[in-house]
Symmetry: C2
Subunit: 373 residues, 2 copies
Amino acid sequence: MYRFKPELRIPGPVPVPSQVALQMAKPVINHRGAVFKEKLPEVLTRLQPLFGTENPVYMLTGSGTAGMETAVSNLVSPGTPVLCLVGGFFGRRWVELCQSYKAQVHIIDFPWDRGVDPQQVAEFLAAHPEIELIFMAQNESSTGVLNDVEAVAKARGGHQALLIVDAVSALGGTPCEMDAWGLDVVVSASQKCLMLPPGAAFIALSERARAYLDRCDASRYYFDLRKYEQFLERGETPFTPNIHIVFALEESLSMLEAEGLERVYARHRLMRDMTRAGVRALGLELLVSDSDASPTVTAVKHPQADGFRQSIRRKYGVEFAGAQGIFAGKVFRIGHMGYATPLDVLTSLAVLEIELSKYGAAAAAAERVMAAQ
Amino acid sequence: MYRFKPELRIPGPVPVPSQVALQMAKPVINHRGAVFKEKLPEVLTRLQPLFGTENPVYMLTGSGTAGMETAVSNLVSPGTPVLCLVGGFFGRRWVELCQSYKAQVHIIDFPWDRGVDPQQVAEFLAAHPEIELIFMAQNESSTGVLNDVEAVAKARGGHQALLIVDAVSALGGTPCEMDAWGLDVVVSASQKCLMLPPGAAFIALSERARAYLDRCDASRYYFDLRKYEQFLERGETPFTPNIHIVFALEESLSMLEAEGLERVYARHRLMRDMTRAGVRALGLELLVSDSDASPTVTAVKHPQADGFRQSIRRKYGVEFAGAQGIFAGKVFRIGHMGYATPLDVLTSLAVLEIELSKYGAAAAAAERVMAAQ
């Protein structure tokens, strides 16, 4: 049964504003017709400031993982030496993808409760000039770590490697300056900070990454970015797209543009800080230190994490997420991304307070953070 | 600009009933939560009668081509000898997919205005016992040919080859009896006869095809059906799904079940027969003979096909499709699938009549077909 009002506080998919959701119910139009061919490039161009790029942004119908595989299948040939920076479940996903494309995979494992250390990356690269591709997550939503992708990009120095970034749970919630920072591929998806339902992935490439596509000989067809490039030039996608995501994206971009990206990012930082202050006030332990903390999701340690969050869901209809990978059962995650506000953080904290019989304790701390803004 | 009322008569994406469209605007729910985990397998099970199978039907987020690549990437290893039956644009797509997965591709080319000839297939297979996989389209929407997949399945006799069928523009509009006919893989998509927006593909496998998955060593991750199988056992998909397509499919299946599949198929045959009678009465030439004609789309020859249909779209807001491949510019296509009725066929014919100044000519012929039902 649906709760009277669903209160999703998971790190995606996240609630969709009703003005955006209604776009999903619009009449179907011809994806090869004039209306759509005008709309698609116009809407995708408006994503460029979120990516921080002047290069084209492509849309494909699929999940965030489809976007990640698009990056891998267009860059990795059998035997390509790659480096994966792993600090969580989604860092590991890069490893699995690269392995399934038969890359020669090198891995640096970082502690899952800490960010990627650019210094270690620099040292590894100095010893491995042959590495062609580096894969990492910007926001590791499995743990609530925000990695410093700019610092990793800089840590390359003069090294040849391209840097490929999973920004699925980051883009639109935290700055991404692809061109200025020197990121080569950035992948995101609809159902996180873009405030859309699941159904589409987005990807942008640097000029250097673009030049790579023709030398890659991995088997690919649906994910072949050269097709997307060729079709976007005339306002189309190579395969029937999720046309409604384009309608909905037009609406959600209008909301983000009206708020202003800087304020959108500040809202996410505020929600992070409020969540962390509240959780601490309840005597619960945060998984990640302040310096590495994600603006879109916060992981909290709890000895019976799954029973605890299920009890909260049952009683109050507020849905937190469990943990993935090594923290499964020991951590729960509070999503605060996309169509989410500081008031939503207060209710996330309120149900924790009630469940722990610490009435008002977290609210006081979080409200002080909010008032200081 | 949108027309006041869009009148899509293309072979997909097709109009979506408003009760189905509204499902697309529902609140987002957790794709790993109890509600979705109950709903997904329940809804997919209700697709089994449309596939004519007792085996599971899997959903993945992507277009019909993503579904086709799922079949190829799970079955084709480098060097696998395959046979592609090509009679149109989508038959050719199988060739391109198999080539990009480095299969050893054999092709039988059939005339694009005629169906696949099972006898030729039987003869080819007798001379090529090594063929492991046969790929074909059930409904070649680029030309409006319905291929007899049952006859091709029979034509195999005792030959080992699996038969893989693109039923993207067929499933739900014409019978598919996967188990009874001996089809090994059937692929379809949301935006055709299932009356849903674009965004998801569906695929079912025979036991023989299932046994193939573990020996295939193509690079695949997002399309790896073993993951979908494993996750569906607990009511989930491996990657964030298009959850709204599941809500919408629940509604459209209710409509199809209420009408009854036999009557759904009869409605499509009636629309085909009305369209063909009307087109003939206008003195236009049909691309395909009666015996090979598709119940979901009809191709019509016209010396200035694109100018003709664009003029109709501009003046009356009725949108026909152009042709793909060798008939581009010489043929236009009238879609009559999914949420379409005999009355829609009458208005398709009416705008042809007006444009040709043959007022009422096609209507008379088509109405007689309708009345004879």
